[in-house]
């Protein structure tokens, strides 16, 4: 079968050409890209990745990350920051760039039978998780405890695919509970997430989910406190806008 020509090559109507070119020219911001790389633990700043064991990179503190699994797939390895098999040494930039960006996305996709099924990272439902207390009872965890940003510990903990997948699964579970309307369970799962993953690569998202769960439960003052912590700890988080909305409402 002959490969068709692009509509713009064939001579699409002028206004359609304009619309398509406007969309084609849209690009994500640099911060968006760097946040993703940071969340993956594979690089920050402008091409500050140096490949090779033991290579030192000038600048801020260095982090050595084992990326054998990532390097196996060289195409995506290049996509994720020109990594090779073995160890890559990265230089980290400003601390705020080390904070993983949150994700406001609902749970991981359901597994399909087809070979073309969307890949699945995790089962969104965390089995055997403790049931949460009634909404009239005191919270199982104090929302007023200090929620320190994980930037320091995240920058020194080796990243491996398995740990990352587990962390994604944990946050997925909380997100799924919130999407299902079970705010109390969301809080319980978030407590578990914080216990299991002190690095909290998804710290901003965890705070965001906690804030939304508290809003759903009508625990306004706690929701406001969480919103304040989110803004204070992750001032560049995309969830900041939502946090400001929460704070703008009368207590």
């Amino acid at each position: 079968m002959t490969e068709p020509k692009r509509w713009l090559e064939e001579g699409a109507p002028r206004d359609i050409e304009y619309l398509v070119r406007a969309v084609q020219s849209e690009q994500p911001g640099d911060i968006s890209l760097r946040r993703t790389l940071t969340a993956l633990g594979v690089g920050l700043g402008a091409s500050t990745v140096t490949v090779g064991a033991g290579a030192a990179v000038a600048g801020a503190s260095t982090v050595t990350i084992t990326v054998g699994l990532l390097a196996k797939w060289t195409a995506l390895g290049a996509t994720l920051g020109t990594l090779t098999a073995g160890v890559a040494t990265l230089a980290r930039d400003a601390p705020e760039l080390a904070r993983p960006a949150p994700s406001s996305i609902s749970p991981a996709p359901a597994r399909l039978e087809s070979n073309h099924a969307a890949p699945v990272v995790s089962d969104p439902i965390v089995k055997d998780a403790p049931t949460t207390a009634s909404v009239t009872e005191p919270p199982t965890t104090s929302p007023h405890k200090r929620f320190a940003p994980a930037v320091q510990s995240a920058s020194t903990v080796p990243l491996d695919a398995e740990t990352l997948a587990e962390e994604v699964k944990s946050v997925d579970g909380a997100r799924a509970a919130l999407a299902a309307g079970n705010a109390a369970r969301t809080l319980t799962l978030l407590d578990e997430y914080e216990r299991r993953f002190p690095e909290r690569r998804f710290g901003p998202e965890a705070l965001y989910l906690r804030m939304e769960a508290l809003v759903s439960l009508g625990r306004t003052s706690q929701a406001r406190s969480t919103a304040e912590r989110l803004l204070a700890s992750y001032p560049n988080s995309p969830h900041g806008a939502r946090a400001r909305v929460v704070l703008s409402k009368k207590p």
Partner: protein, 166 residues
Amino acid sequence: MREHYAFVWRVLRRSGLSSADADDAAQRVFLVAAARLDSIEERSERGFLYRTAARVASNAQRSIRRRLDTPGLEDGEEPAPFPAPDDLLDQRRARDLLDRVLSELSEDLRATFILFEIEGLRTPEIAEAIGIPLGTVASRLRRARAEVEERVAHYRNRPRSKGNLP
């Protein structure tokens, strides 16, 4: 890196996500990819990324609908007047309009149009990414073009209300 990331990001944007939500979603897509590297076949990366992005976007839209007080284009709300090509500020309106048009297509046609006309994938890649025969890609592309042209004409010829830009 930018090329693949931009591809995923634009696919997410064309799925109706805002820039901020697309940022989040793109991160999720690459986290999934990182966790599933072993299962991804070489030379099928874009197909994998697209399928993941489509699923992530779908989940994101369900999540967004449950958010409180989310500003944005509400159902039934008309987009801004047709953008003028010589106005740079209209780039955003142009994107918004095309997103609106694409949202009115069926998912099958929308995916085919986005991947071929906007992202420049070849038809075999699209067939593999979506999981359809090669011939089906071609037929969906024809139908998608026809519908896009019809919808764009609808918005172009829409009477302007008072207060709109000329």
